[in-house]
């Protein structure tokens, strides 16, 4: 199938928008794919079509959204899942040349109208990140949500998903979300922050930076002030131990932790609430990049597995670049800057920009990037959750894999019965953890931490669940229709 697209950008968050706008401005024909309805990604998520915000709040990311909307040569594919990259490894078919110039990549997409392929000369993957899932007893109850999920309900859907909120975790996003909830009239009963305040010093400036946007440097501090003024207790050195309720959440157990981050027995207290929002940081969405064969590296402070890249954001697979959170969780500003850099790299590959001009254009971008990276590096490590502290929240009957209902005890027993097993994939095969609809996104971090604890193996030895197409579920009928389409043409 011939396709006039030069570049497909997967993900319309800050990284993808910046990449697409930059590519389009320099003459590349770009298709942007996102499974959400509207561009913006997680942070600049816009309300649904036909909805408008009450009040006169300025929209975050407005400049970038406008830049992308005005960029030439841009084609949008909303509500569309990118589920597989083909022809990057074996190098045998006419569609998979060894270098991007003669060859084209094939990207399988599932649109509201069914399945098809896009055949760009280059791909920019900007799939972002998602909230780190942190299991503990009761975390599967209706009413327990991620902090990002609560924020999205509030900001993009105008919904307060409950009345009495407890927020727990270890990421500064918690403070921002708590302040937004208070501003929207919710009752925030408590914010439980796992770190001790002293470990977070030198200060709230960094809190905001870690959330991701230098323009919001003061936002974390401001959030904290708002919460104090609204008399919302923000307790540091406090963790979530359990969520209760039948059939739905009606309360949580919190307790103090010691200097090592481990719960102090006897300090448990129960707090009534109907929503618990969990914010422990983010996991980069590397699935599509890994499926395509891009090399990854283990960087715990940046969210876990991240995609390797050179200084033009090119991955180990020719024709594929990355930008944003999948190079390491570092926030929206860095994502945007990386998106532009990935665009300049890709434009060179496409022959639309010569090396000198690209270097000149990239210079100011690189300066910002260097500053952002230094800053992010200084802050990130302070919020990176400690594996032992997270493991301490898990009891034997805590569900790790929500989809297949596999508990920590199931996995411990499997490792005891089969002491020769010690990789994420082997444990998945034996226990079914990671075999459900979410494809392991919800359980992989906890399963791997547990394997590490039980076997003493390193995260690199344990590895990740292999990423295979489709990287998100796709209806059989859509795949079958794509087969028919191919037959008709061939």
């Amino acid at each position: 199938m011939s396709n006039p697209t030069d570049v497909v950008v997967v993900g319309a968050g800050p990284a993808g928008l910046a990449a697409a706008a930059t590519l389009g401005r320099h003459g590349a024909r770009v298709t942007v794919v996102d499974e959400q309805q509207r561009p913006g990604g997680q942070i600049y998520r816009q309300p649904p079509t036909g909805h408008t915000r009450t009040g006169r709040r300025t929209e975050a990311g407005r400049a970038l959204l406008a830049e992308a909307a005005a960029a030439p040569h841009l084609d949008w594919l909303p509500d569309t899942v990118a589920w597989g990259v083909f022809g990057t490894r074996a190098g045998l078919d006419d569609y998979a040349g060894p270098a991007p110039a003669p060859g084209r990549l094939r990207l399988g997409v599932h649109t509201p109208d069914g399945g098809r392929t896009l055949e760009p000369a280059a791909l920019v993957l900007t799939a972002g990140a998602y909230d780190l899932p942190v299991p503990f007893p009761g975390w599967t109850l209706p009413g327990v949500l991620t902090a990002g999920g609560v924020q999205t309900f509030l900001k993009a859907q105008g919904l307060l998903p409950g009345r009495r909120f407890v927020l727990a975790g270890g990421h500064p996003l918690l403070l921002v979300v708590a302040a937004q909830l208070v501003a929207a009239g919710a009752h925030v009963v408590e914010v439980a922050f796992s770190q001790h305040l002293r470990t977070l010093l030198p200060g709230p400036r960094d809190l905001a930076a870690a959330v991701g946007n230098a323009a919001k440097l003061a936002e974390g501090a401001a959030a904290l002030r708002h919460l104090r003024r609204a008399r919302v207790p923000v307790r540091f050195g406090t963790v979530i131990r359990a969520a209760h309720g039948d059939p739905e959440l009606d309360g949580v157990v919190l307790s103090r932790v010691d200097a090592a981050g481990l719960p102090v027995p006897g300090t448990e207290r129960t707090v009534a609430c109907d929503v618990l929002a969990l914010g422990y940081g983010f996991v980069p969405s590397t699935e599509l990049a890994r499926q395509a064969g891009c090399a990854v590296a283990w960087r715990p402070a940046e969210g876990g597995w991240i995609v390797d890249h050179d200084d033009w954001m090119r991955t180990s697979v020719p024709g594929i670049s990355v930008a944003g959170e999948l190079t390491g969780v570092a926030g929206a500003e860095q994502a945007e800057v990386e998106g532009r850099l990935a665009a300049y790299g890709t434009l060179q590959t496409l022959g639309l920009l010569d090396a000198d001009r690209a270097a000149a254009l990239a210079r100011p971008v690189r300066r910002i990037l260097a500053r952002r990276r230094r800053f992010a590096a200084a802050v990130l490590s302070r919020f990176a959750p400690d594996p032992a502290a997270l493991n301490a929240l898990v009891t034997d009957d805590t569900v790790l894999c929500r989809c297949e209902e596999v508990t920590a005890g199931d996995i411990r027993r499997a490792l005891c019965d089969h002491p020769h097993l010690g990789t994420a994939n082997a444990v998945k095969l034996l226990t079914r953890a990671g075999m459900g609809l979410c494809q392991g996104r919800s359980c992989q971090p906890a399963v791997c931490r547990l394997i590490a604890e039980q076997t003493g193996r390193s995260p690199e030895q344990i590895g990740a669940f292999t990423a295979q197409p489709p990287v998100k579920p796709v209806p059989l009928a859509s795949l079958a229709a794509a087969a028919r389409q191919h037959d008709d043409q061939g």
Binding site: E35, Q36, Q37, Q42, P47, P48, T49, G50, H51, T52, R53, T54, G55, D79, Y130, D131, P133, T140, L141, P142, G143, V144, L145, T146, G148, G149, V150, T152, F153, L154, Q157, G158, L159, L160, P161, G162, R163, R164, A184, G185, H187, P247, E248, D250, G251, T270, A272, D274, S285, R402, C403, E405, G436, L437, C438, R441, S442, K472, P473, P475
Partner: protein, 100 residues
Amino acid sequence: MSDTATPARPTRTGLHRPDPTTIMVDGEPVTAHPGESLATALLAAGRRTTGETTSGAGKAPYCNMGVCFECVVTVDGQPFQRSCLIRVRPGLIVQTGPAR
């Protein structure tokens, strides 16, 4: 647990919305606004539980961004649709309950 006076029902806030429409959820009419996410509509209608695990435990939206698949429902006969990504349109027919 003493301080539970406020009802748990989620509330809509902060947006001007298109006029409401009706969708059918498990055979009952539910009022919702075209364009909002189905998860929003279900929660706002007081349905905090939107599904069931194989062992019968309740499930509900968790990530609200299309990653966890905890919020899946059957929409117009198509199973396993993420209610946090599906948008309300007039006449939508939704089944919650066990995911199958």
